[in-house]
């Protein structure tokens, strides 16, 4: 038990440092898509939600599982698609005029 906990703490700490390094490189012009994109990544809870929803431990567990999947899926689908929509606008070539 203790080994997995320690391993988890190590992973969490190193990932935090990695995150700080990565995020500092994102230019301020992309901070809004960064937030919505990061948000989509935090939808990774969908993994836990799917396990709960499929476990079939009775109706309370089913209701909670359903809610969890809905919440996480809105996060994932909404987050990635809206981020893509924003980033497409930045992709436009500076010289191309949309007139």
């Amino acid at each position: 038990m203790l080994e997995t906990l320690i391993a988890g703490i190590v992973i969490f700490t190193l990932s935090t440092f990695l995150g700080v390094e990565l995020i500092h490189r994102v230019p301020s012009t992309l901070h809004t898509p960064l937030m919505s994109g990061a948000n989509a990544i935090s939808g990774i809870t969908v993994v836990g939600a799917l396990i709960m929803a499929g476990a079939g431990h009775g109706w309370i567990s089913n209701v909670l599982g359903f809610l969890a999947v809905v919440f996480a899926m809105v996060n994932v689908a909404g987050g990635y698609v809206v981020t893509d929509r924003m980033l497409q606008m930045f992709k436009r070539k500076p010289t191309v005029e949309a007139e």
Partner: protein, 462 residues
């Protein structure tokens, strides 16, 4: 699929997230980054479904269809001006997902009569607490940004005491639960209730102008809650992704706080904007010089260098597109046009950049405060459109001003300034602006979109 293979595949998903964030470092690679990150998510979902065969897929399919459909619809329908609300809502749902997964895990152990392991129990209670705060806190942030409720800070006597008591209460319950040989349902439900109440109480005293910090912070919370959920279900990819998002939110909160010259504690507990604040220097006896569209058009046509300072008022008036048209016309006359973006120009970090990008303003013409502040002295004309506090010289000169010390765009160093503004009202933070009374400054009153449309028409005749 077997354990080690599943673990390695999850690692692959985590690598996709890391690459996704890495490629966000440039607009040229950002689209690819986001898609790789999305692919990682798809991978994680598929691995989960294959490695943890469900008893019944009905609930899963229903959840994926409803949630995915709702998410897609929101992502397509949302206006770029409403992006802060959208992100606030997504943050809340992320926190909510962690809250519900934690609760489901707890209920499972209750029903099966299993004991939660100590580390699982600790992580579970933290996930529920942070997830709950994130959920209701984000809902309040959403309501304030969507103007479903007043953006003003809501305060009442003993508010901080109540919050402190609730927080300590939540921690006490969590410690009690974790140290019991068997966790009890009653205290658990109380903990959930307290977490939800805390989310509301922590965000209502924060004024609308500080929402960028709040959204960033809630973004971070949703990540930490996801990481804690990872400890509960023993899945490393959740821990990695949660930690990445957690650090992202913290960094953005810091950047926003620095841009406002406030500490995080001051933003969270200072109740800034609860009352209309009046600067030490009164504006009485001073008059602002008014100008007309044709005068400004002439100034614009004969300037060599122009810097546009857009504020949220520009977005409210939906005037970004007319602004770009004006800039294009001016550039055809040989004027150099640049845009100066203050970090808190929009309602969330980078918001103004997105709004201008939507109007086809090339991103290489957008400059952040540090890049452009030295250029104002050499600039012929500055157009301030719908911005107020971020160009208020009182931040540099008047120690009695509430915004004293906040880094601002030094537009008063330019040779001439034209402020496009609806009327003489104070800004979002409710502070008088002495820039408007500067002899160099002329005011062009009216709706930003109408004024800019007139300017375009006048400029065409020159």
């Amino acid at each position: 699929m077997s354990g080690p293979l599943v673990q390695l595949l999850y690692l692959g998903a985590a690598i996709c997230f890391v690459l996704g964030l890495k490629w966000l470092s440039s607009p040229a690679t950002a689209v690819r980054g986001n898609r790789v990150s999305g692919f990682g998510m798809l991978m994680a979902v598929v691995i989960t479904l294959l490695s943890e065969p469900a008893v019944s897929y009905t609930v899963i399919i229903a959840g994926v269809v409803v949630g995915g459909g709702l998410g897609l619809w929101m992502a397509r329908a949302v206006k770029m001006t409403a992006m802060p609300q959208m992100v606030a809502l997504l943050n809340g749902l992320g926190g909510g997902a962690s809250l519900v997964v934690g609760s489901a895990e707890f209920m499972k152990s209750e029903m099966l009569g299993e004991h939660l392991l100590l580390d699982t129990s600790i992580a579970l209670h933290i996930a529920v607490l942070i997830g709950g705060v994130t959920l209701t806190g984000s809902v309040i942030a959403f309501a304030k940004l969507q103007e479903l409720m007043s953006g003003r800070a809501i305060t009442f006597p003993l508010q901080k005491t109540l919050n402190a008591v609730l927080f300590l209460g939540a921690v006490t319950i969590a410690v009690f639960q974790v140290t019991q040989p068997e966790s009890l349902l009653g205290p658990f439900l109380v903990l959930v209730g307290v977490a939800l109440a805390l989310g509301v109480l922590l965000v209502i005293p924060i004024g609308g102008a500080d929402m960028p910090v709040v959204i960033s912070l809630l973004n971070s919370y949703s990540g930490i809650a996801a990481a804690m959920t990872g400890f509960v279900i023993r899945n490393e990819v959740l821990i990695i992704s949660g930690a990445l998002v957690g650090s992202s939110g913290i960094i953005l909160s810091q950047i926003m706080c620095k841009a406002m010259n406030r500490s995080l504690a001051n933003v969270l507990f200072g109740a800034f904007g609860a009352t209309v604040q009046i600067s030490g220097k009164s504006a009485e006896g001073l008059t602002a010089r008014q100008t007309s569209a044709d005068d400004v058009a002439v100034q614009l046509a004969y300037a060599q260098s122009v810097i546009v300072v857009p504020g949220y008022g520009l977005a409210v008036a939906q005037a970004q597109h007319v602004l770009r048209e004006l800039a294009d016309l001016a550039e055809k006359k040989g004027v150099t046009v640049k845009y100066a973006i203050h970090p808190v120009a929009g309602r969330m970090p980078g918001h103004m950049n997105v709004l201008l990008a939507e109007a086809n303003v090339p991103y290489d013409k957008l400059f952040d405060m540090d890049e452009i502040n030295s250029e104002f002295e050499r600039t012929d004309l500055v157009l301030v459109i719908g911005a107020n506090d971020v160009v208020n010289p009182a931040a540099r000169t008047d120690p009695s001003s509430p915004i004293y010390g906040m880094p601002i765009l030094n537009v008063d160093y330019a040779k001439a300034v034209v402020v496009l503004k609806r009327g003489m009202g104070a800004g979002f933070a409710g502070i008088e602006n002495e820039l408007f009374f500067n002899p160099k400054t002329a005011m062009l009153f009216g709706d930003a979109k109408q004024s800019l449309t007139k300017l375009v028409a006048e400029l065409k005749t020159l």
